[in-house]
Subunit: 192 residues, 2 copies
């Protein structure tokens, strides 16, 4: 694992060029993934929400689910393929200005991220500190390293500033997170 | 792409060691994926069924979905990570003894499989000819090659016998499809 020092950015982008109303992290990621797919850059999808269906009716238009329950996800929300590499991540927002509460991620999602990088995938968290207007990539390795060496229930912002990578926010793609992946893993990725 | 001739098996496994009742292809794959995960071999999951939720009620036990509709999947059902490689496939059964109807797969799933192998993933179909008791891996490349050079609406069994790879069925894992992937892609996979 290489950590090119130049990528660690400690300054927030002060001016974001779009209006923030209704543009949450999930929308930004979905729009970016759509852009990556349209441009044939990467094929990364959000998994459907897992549900347990308990009742289905059939009418003229087809099947209608009449009762179902949300299930706890067993993996992360996003995965896909980028230049020959398996990509896997979870995305979370926090309103805290000082730390990211680990209660935001399920234990089996953390284990999943660990399995992913141990098996040759690129695994990370995307964490947005909403009130700071900063969105970071924290690599799975650094997430696990924090958890395994700390009893804290949240990851302080300082840890992000030290270990994570700031994602550039712009008009399109809104959240160019693969740029960070390029800089970190460029040598391992298939040529374009 | 290598096609080791030795892998093309033209004989069906005549005796299957388990009782077939209620064991359909999806169950076999899910059980195999569970085995692979338990043994830390591969991390391949079935994606949740995509649905459009239109009505949710909240009661003491939490949220209950009261109305939802099945959506057409935009990708394949299964993907994951195996020894550093991105794996992506769709699984289908057919009752036909002579051909696999292409109407079984959505157009955008076919395009998706093409995007996957073009971008360095391992993409394939698992097709079970139920009445023949044979389950094949047909690589995405060979699927697309057939579609692009044929106007036929189904792939004849002969094409499977010539181009596809028979998956060994056994007690555990029920459908050892990664064995075929090992034989085909061994040199590209991360060491165990």
């Amino acid at each position: 694992m290489k950590y090119p020092g130049g990528i660690i950015q400690k300054d927030a982008p002060k001016n974001v060029s779009y209006d923030n109303r209704g543009m949450d992290l999930e929308n930004d990621i979905n729009q970016s993934n759509e852009y990556y797919r349209d441009k044939n850059i990467a094929f990364i999808y959000k998994k459907p929400t897992p549900i347990q269906i308990t009742k289905v009716d059939y009418n003229k238009r087809g099947a209608v689910i009449k009762e179902a329950y949300f299930k706890e996800p067993s993996t992360t929300d996003y995965n896909g393929l980028y230049r020959g590499k398996y990509i896997d991540f979870e995305a979370k927002e926090t309103l805290s200005k000082t730390s990211f509460p680990l209660s935001n991620i399920h234990k089996h999602q953390i284990l999943h991220l660990k399995n992913m990088y141990l098996n040759g995938g690129i695994a990370f968290l995307i964490v947005r500190f909403v009130k700071l207007n900063k969105t970071f990539i924290l690599l799975g390795q650094d997430l696990i390293s924090f958890i395994e060496s700390n009893s804290r229930k949240s990851i302080p912002l300082d840890y992000f500033l030290e270990k994570a990578y700031l994602i550039e926010e712009k008009y399109i793609p809104r959240l160019d997170y693969l740029k960070v992946i390029d800089e970190l893993y460029g040598g391992e990725l298939n040529g374009k």
